[in-house]
Every structure is written in C-alpha cells, then in structure tokens.
C-alpha cells in the first residue's frame, strides 16, 4: 500500500540575535542587505526605532529580539543584516518590512510532523508567531508578518 509523505515546505531560519531563532516562509524573505543604513525615526516604539530606504520605499526595521526582551537593546554591531520580507495584508497588494538579523538566514525543509508548541519563554512568542516547528529538537516559531508589520505589536504591551 502506498503511503503519502507528510506535507513539506521550505522555510528560512532567521537569527534574531545570538540566541533567538524564528522562521518565515520561503517566499516571504526576498532580499538581504548587509550593513544596512538605518535611519532614526523619533517617537517610534523601542523595537522599531529605525527605517530603511529600499527601492524607493520606506521600510520599518523591526528588532524582534528587542520586542521579545521588552526593552531596547544597545547598539548591536552583531545585528549586521537586514532581511527584507514581503507579506500579504488582509486587503491590497503585498507590503514589505525589514527584520534585523545577526546572521545569514538558512533554508530548511519543514514537514507537518515537526509541528510543536511555542516556547514558553519569552512569552511574547504567542503574539509574534502563527505556529512552530522542531528543528534539531529546538522549537522554531514561524512569524506572523502581517500582524507584526501592520501595527499589531503596538496594542500588545
């Protein structure tokens, strides 16, 4: 009797800092900027204080490690990469944002059998992630990009 392979898809593994990992879908990460020029935006939330000009667009640069930590992180020379992500809002065309990263993203194959619970700590994963999978026994949350970039985080804390 033929058996069906569990559904597989490709994801990008992202290093949010030297400790925190997350993932986005294969088509959600569209560009990587090394040593990005970050432009200050005063009066913005501590986890999104800078923006990047990219292809004539102004993209918010999201520091999710700072959000998960609950406070602004000091200037991070280690956060040397900006990952441009695309997401589909509920209505309208695709939109873009930037995730600040500390290492080059890695591709991985993920199957349904790897699904797992979100990590309990930091507690903020419940807001950021839509699901989670195990990679080498470590839970990797999958980011909810429309929620993160449409201002959802402003109402959560």
């Amino acid at each position: 009797m033929a058996t069906e392979n569990p559904m597989e898809s490709t994801a990008w593994m992202l290093a949010l800092d030297d400790r925190l990992r997350a993932a986005v879908g294969e088509h959600e990460l569209i560009h990587l900027i090394e040593a990005p020029t970050l432009l200050d935006v005063p009066l913005s939330p501590h986890y999104c204080r800078r923006a990047i000009l990219w292809n004539d667009r102004l993209l918010p640069a999201m520091d999710l490690a700072a959000w998960l930590g609950g406070r602004e992180q000091p200037a991070q020379p280690a956060r040397k990469l900006a990952g441009v992500v695309a997401y589909q809002p509920r209505m309208g065309a695709a939109e873009y944002g930037v995730l600040l990263l500390s290492d080059i993203p890695a591709r991985t194959r993920v199957s349904d059998t790897q699904a797992c619970k979100l990590p309990e700590q930091p507690t903020g994963w419940r807001d950021l992630a839509i699901s989670c999978f195990l990679d080498a026994e470590i839970p990797v949350p999958i980011l909810d990009l429309p929620f993160i970039f449409s201002g959802g985080l402003l109402a959560t804390r």
């Binding site: 935006v41 005063p42 009066l43 000009l53 993209l59 999201m62 993160i148 970039f149 449409s150």
Partner: protein, 159 residues
C-alpha cells in the same frame, strides 16, 4: 485633550513650503505658513513662564510661551547651548515658541512617505517622513506639537 486628526499624505503633499526646524540634530518639518517669526533667544524673558516652558517672548502685545524640546520631543528644562534661534509658531488656534538649533526653508518640498503602521504610536505627532540629506525629516504641524506639549506638561505636573 483630544488628539488632532492625522492628515493624509495627499493633504500633506499640498503644503507649498516646508520649514526645517532642527532640534537636537533631528530635522522636523512644519508648514512654513505656521512660522510667524524668528526671534533671538536673547529676547526670551525667563521670568514669564508657562508650565514646563523656559520663558516667553513678547510679540504683538502678547506673551508667547517658549518651549525647548529634544530631538525626540521631550521637554528640556535647560536649553542646550546649540539652540540659537526661536521659531514662533501660530496656526490661528495655537501659539507658542520653540527653541531650535536652526531654522531654514526647504528649497523644494521633499518626497513625503507614510509613517509605517508599526512605528506610529497613538500620540505620535509625526504625520509623514521625508528623506533628507541628513536622514529622515519628520513632518508635523503646530496643532500636533501643541497637543504633544499639553500632554507633556500634564504628565510633568502629575509627577
């Protein structure tokens, strides 16, 4: 105090001339029509104070309260030495002075870009952003600054 309504990008793009007010190194852009005059900080009377202000300037037979704000719009009780000029702002309803590092008129209206949704705190006076040589300029107006000053003064009085 209720928050003023944020103008749309289309409305902001109709502003003919923007003035750049530099505060602590940050460029803030306001409609030039809202700058009533530029005054010397030497003309500030430090004895005439509004709550959280640093003094007042007499113009047209009235006192205009003067405030000093940091680049990210926190009230500064003591003006830094860099603040060399005072812009008197007037939109017909709100009138006050703002101590600035520099004030200049932009020769051309810069491209205005929307503040990304995830960056806009509810009480942010920023209505749009504009790429400038020195970074991003924050577009605001006298009404939004007045609302912010009222909130800041209220907060300071409450502590």
């Amino acid at each position: 105090m209720s928050q003023p309504v944020r103008n749309t990008l289309a409305e902001l793009r109709e502003i003919r001339a923007l003035a750049k007010l530099t505060l602590g190194g940050y460029p803030w852009l306001l409609p030039q029509t809202e700058i009533r005059s530029l005054e010397s900080p030497l003309d500030i009377d430090r004895e005439v104070r509004a709550p959280q202000g640093i003094g007042a300037i007499a113009l047209g037979g009235e006192w205009w309260p003067v405030y000093c704000l940091s680049g990210d719009l926190r009230l500064l009780p003591q003006p830094p030495d860099s603040r060399g000029i005072c812009a008197l702002l007037d939109n017909g309803a709100d009138r006050f002075g703002l101590l600035c590092d520099q004030v200049e008129t932009l020769a051309e209206t810069p491209r205005l870009l929307a503040l990304p949704a995830c960056m806009g705190l509810p009480d942010s006076p920023i209505q749009a952003l504009a790429p400038l040589d020195e970074g991003l300029g924050c577009v605001t107006d006298t009404e939004h600054l007045a609302a912010l000053l009222a909130t800041l003064a209220e907060g300071a009085d409450g502590h």
